[in-house]
């Protein structure tokens, strides 16, 4: 595939990746309506968030808890710029640039401080820093709007009332929502391709070498701290883009949509279930996750009510729709044990000729 020396292997896998991508590309026409478009935009954002996380988790072999923080920095950057400066593209650019600068500096600081001794420090430090960032974001309410967040106006062409052309195209009115969706989609595709280019560059190979055997990589002359820190910064930039696009789509930024711990868990689940170290996995993982999130809750609700009617103890609580993370968590553990290569690994096994 484009920009990559390593296309996805296996017919089913190729077909699936192409199908998901096509479905996303044509989503406004295939699935008209407000909710399906929301789901499609969420898949795009999670695919990018997952792909940038995969750079760390799958390629560099590092677990970060701060990925949602960088996502939040991007969201708040664009959101607060539009809130403060009014709806203009200049504000979007300024917010994105500020978000990228803050993210990169934070990632650089975290990387330089925590990667000097042991990679495990990195995981703990990212957890602490992102927790502190969450507390700050909700405490500094004069800036961030606290728990309520900020709603803001987006540039005119992205507003729902805007009409791109007066006629309908393929039976769908082309309005601001559709333009916004394509902005999100194109943004995600561009950054995804950039990430693909990065992991298939010599730099990406060195990351894999460090993941497999840090001592050997160091003995060969690669500076581990430099490579790992750079990977952290690049992944942070990717998450910042995802956050900025998400804020533009939602026209709102707040702790629930930009910084919640459940987003971090979702990112982990997307990457692990999709397949670590493939990038494509994130697309499949995101599609599966967002769809599951939307329909699993309905299913759980039905089971919970049924169990409640049958008078069974405990089960209604376990199957309560709010407990969907429980089932996702179980799936996550099982994926870690039995399918570490995720969906991509399971699907590309069939005609796996090259090692």
């Amino acid at each position: 595939m484009i920009l990559s020396g390593r296309p996805p292997r296996g017919r089913t896998l190729q077909a699936l990746v192409i199908a998901v991508t096509l479905a996303l590309a044509l989503a406004p026409f295939l699935f008209p309506g407000v909710k399906p478009l929301n789901v499609a935009a969420k898949v795009c954002v999670y695919a990018l968030l997952g792909a940038s996380y995969d750079l760390l988790l799958g390629y560099a072999g590092m677990v970060s808890f701060a990925h949602v923080m960088f996502f939040g920095v991007g969201s708040y950057g664009v959101g607060l710029a539009l809130y403060g400066l009014g709806p203009s593209w200049g504000a979007v650019a300024l917010g994105l640039a500020a978000g990228l600068a803050v993210s990169t500096l934070l990632a650089l600081a975290i990387g330089l401080f925590s990667l000097r001794v042991q990679a495990i420090f990195f995981t703990m430090v990212t957890l602490a820093v992102s927790y502190a960032f969450n507390v700050l974001a909700s405490q500094l309410d004069w800036l961030t709007g606290g728990e309520d967040g900020r709603s803001f106006r987006v540039p005119e062409i992205l507003q729902p009332g805007f009409r791109l052309i007066d006629r309908e195209a393929f039976g769908v009115a082309l309005g601001g929502r559709q333009v916004s969706y394509y902005l999100v989609l194109v943004g995600c595709v561009v950054v995804f391709l950039a990430l693909l280019r990065i992991v298939n560059s010599p730099f990406g190979r060195v990351l894999e070498a460090i993941r497999e055997n840090p001592f050997r990589a160091e003995a060969l002359g690669y500076r581990i701290v430099f490579h790992r820190t750079l990977a952290t910064c690049l992944a942070a930039a990717g998450a910042t883009f995802a956050g900025a696009l998400n804020a533009l789509w939602l026209r709102y930024v707040g702790p629930d949509t930009a910084l919640a711990g459940s987003i971090q868990i979702a990112t982990l689940v997307v990457v692990v279930i999709g397949g670590m170290g493939t990038l494509y996995g994130a697309i499949l993982g995101a599609a599966l996750f967002v769809v599951a999130q939307n329909y699993l809750q309905t299913l759980l609700g039905a089971v919970s009510t049924a169990a409640g009617d049958a008078g069974l103890p405990l089960l209604p609580g376990l199957f309560h729709p709010d407990r969907w993370l429980l089932w996702l968590g179980l799936l996550f553990i099982l994926a870690v044990y039995f399918a570490p290569a995720g969906l991509v690994g399971a699907l590309s096994r069939e005609d796996d000729t090259t090692p």
Binding site: G61, Q118, M124, A128, V135, L318, D322, L326, G329, I333
Partner: protein, 336 residues
Amino acid sequence: MSLDDFGAALPRPKPDFVPALTPLVVALVVAPFIGSASSFVTLTAAGLAMGMMIFTMASGLTLVFGMMDVLNFGHGAFISLGAYVATLVLLPLAHWAQVDSWPLDLALLALALAAAVVVCGLFGLIFERLVVVPVYGQHLKQILATIGGSIVAEQLLYALFGPDQIALAPPASFRGAFVLGDAAIEKYRVVATVVGLVVFVGLTLALNRTRIGLLIRAGVQDREMVEALGYRIDRLFVGVFMAGASLAGVGGVLWALYREQVHASMGGELLVLCFIVIIVGGLGSVGGCFISAILVGLIDNYAGFLAPKLAIVANILLMVVVLLWRPRGLYPVGGR
């Protein structure tokens, strides 16, 4: 050189007192900014109590990591579990807790702590067998599996105990404060400090005066060497993991009575502080964990008084400063 010296053991390593003095330094530096002496005493007592509670939670985490390189992200769930066990024991006995009698209330606390030790130890065993064992030696998978385990455990707690906070009042005689001149020191904080100190002394004695403690310390220093000498360190590790879970439970009980409420998300929040503590203290070091827990407790309370919104940021700054000074923590262990 006298003859005795030849038979004597290796020269003892020089004890390193500088890091142990850091809490004192922090207290002295901050004192002028606090303003009144009475507030300073109150805050320091509160910081010590918080430090002791965090130490109780973090000590197990640091030993478990030291021995098997297992960083247990599920540790927070045991803290929450301990707190819920406390509600199970103390809420039905609430009428006893109303009586203002020290022996009775101490017995109640002891009962709650014992229950937490047993329950958390058992669940620690289950967690270790189900979640940790299948991925021994695979670093990345271990982290991911314990993260998954912590998600599932937290959600199970929600499912079992409901999503709402449970109020938990401390027994009658622990309420109120001792008054020293102008300074008021809450009684419960003294109780928590004493329990934490007992845990520290007990742990230190167990590690330094018993054969199992010797093996644990040796395992933390160099696991492979202990294995090469014929000890089944994986069995020893199960015990340490269970003890760590029990200690987390004890910390959870203490913290729940301190905050007077219980919620399944408290474990995750406290785990952040635990991580800061074990990084600052030096991974695997119980003494370092003790000192850094006091540091974190003091700084949290001082910062909470001076700039309420910045308490957690202050502790991150502490971590940064310590890592700049000693990149492997205050008391580095072995080759880490």
